[in-house]
Subunit: 256 residues, 2 copies
């Protein structure tokens, strides 16, 4: 976690973009806004209201406005937001003006799918290199890229100026791979292996774990089943009627 908040320079008369220092929750939503905006642009929309964009992104419109207000005032009251301008601004804030090079380590079952995914390219990234430790896989060509041995990582990382590393190896190898990535200067890692990675301060790790997602769904499934099964709670008072239609739970949005 980044904790050191520089207290000084509040007004900050800086003329430059000035690093807005966005709330983390906002950062996590910006990509979704960006995707929705691209959809709108592709369908010919020139402007969009906060209400419209919020619906397209699946969030509350007040939240969307507050999020965007952190980037500056790029909307026009009474009109809405200019789609092209907003795309530009969000991409700028997310650092997508340069196409970042991604290295994928572990070209197995999952790695193959990722290597062949074109959603990377269309959203600001370039798979620059594939690595594996299995000699049987080295040399294989996927989508125009040759799989290299992981020992070549230092050389290739320098050549391609890798910005982000993706780990798709078994969990047992993930920490070692992470160490190797850090060693060659990678400071952002996306980890698909089901394990906790230990990295130096300053290195960011995000984790995607499919089984965890399913287990969270399982919890809610379990809870829903229990609720309809035995609606009587405690011993007295509040006799939540089992009608089944009186579901008070509002929007079902779970987690982030």
């Amino acid at each position: 976690m980044s904790q050191h908040r520089h207290p000084g320079a509040p007004g900050s008369a800086g003329a430059v973009p000035a690093l807005p220092d966005l709330p983390e929750a906002t950062v996590a939503r910006l990509p979704e806004y960006l995707r929705a905006l691209h959809n709108l642009a592709d369908t010919g929309h020139e402007t969009v209201s906060s209400e419209g964009l919020a619906t397209a992104a699946g969030v509350n419109s007040a939240k969307l406005r507050k999020d965007l207000s952190h980037l500056g005032s790029y909307g026009t009251r009474g009109v809405g937001y200019d789609v092209a301008l907003l795309i530009e601004q969000i991409e700028s804030v997310l650092g997508l003006t340069q196409r970042r090079a991604v290295a994928l380590v572990g070209v197995g079952n999952l790695g193959h799918a990722l290597a062949g995914y074109d959603g990377f390219a269309s959203r600001g990234f370039r798979i620059a290199a594939l690595f594996d430790a299995d000699p049987g896989r080295v040399g294989e060509e996927i989508n125009g890229l040759v799989v290299r041995h992981v020992d070549e990582l230092p050389r290739v990382a320098a050549e391609e100026s890798i910005a982000i590393g993706v780990i798709a190896t078994p969990a047992s190898a993930a920490q070692r791979v992470a160490d190797q990535l850090v060693e060659v200067g990678v400071t952002s890692i996306l980890n698909f292996a089901p394990c906790v990675l230990s990295v130096p301060e300053g290195v960011d790790v995000r984790k995607v774990d499919l089984a965890i997602e399913l287990q969270i769904l399982s919890f809610h499934e379990h809870r829903k089943a229990s609720l309809t099964a035995l609606p009587a709670t405690g011993g007295s008072a509040l006799t939540a009627l089992p009608g089944g239609l009186a579901a008070t739970d509002s929007q079902e949005a779970i987690g982030t």
Copy 2:
């Protein structure tokens, strides 16, 4: 969300689970604790302290204790938690005592990888059916399962009592597939397509979007680069030491 648990009956002679109604943030972490606990059990540990488990799960120990306290008091002061007992409790709360059936729709690039993934089975789930709309793929056998046409979903869903649907189709087809899943009674969906799904109240959707993860990393990468470029802010400090060996295990955990 309601939080008031029954005020009386502290000893709680109740033998039944009793629906703890956990905070969502806690639910999202329980699977990680569970995974860490299984690792501990496999390496012969019988008990573990909150500190130890917290480290293994990559969280703060106070947070872990508070999370576990929501399930009840399953620890022993001065000793720690019984690993086997805690596994049992967490699995019970998450509804993993029954092996839930999962249907995977869209057996393309990504779908193939998911269908062949054994991490499902070992963590409480069973891939019960594969579906695709492409006649060319229907009939193909993957990992012992035959790909069926998506039109067979109603029949198969009933036969296998599908609990969770996984969508791995292109975004353009995702909403239609979601509708079909809801239609046959599925109330939990894991969506890999980069789009917002609209579902009725009572249906839970979780989304995994690889490009979003990368873009969030990109933001932090961008910010880190800007900071080192112009460190004039405040007193600066933090001169990222290149040594590389001073790995403080302070995880950089971003977002959730």
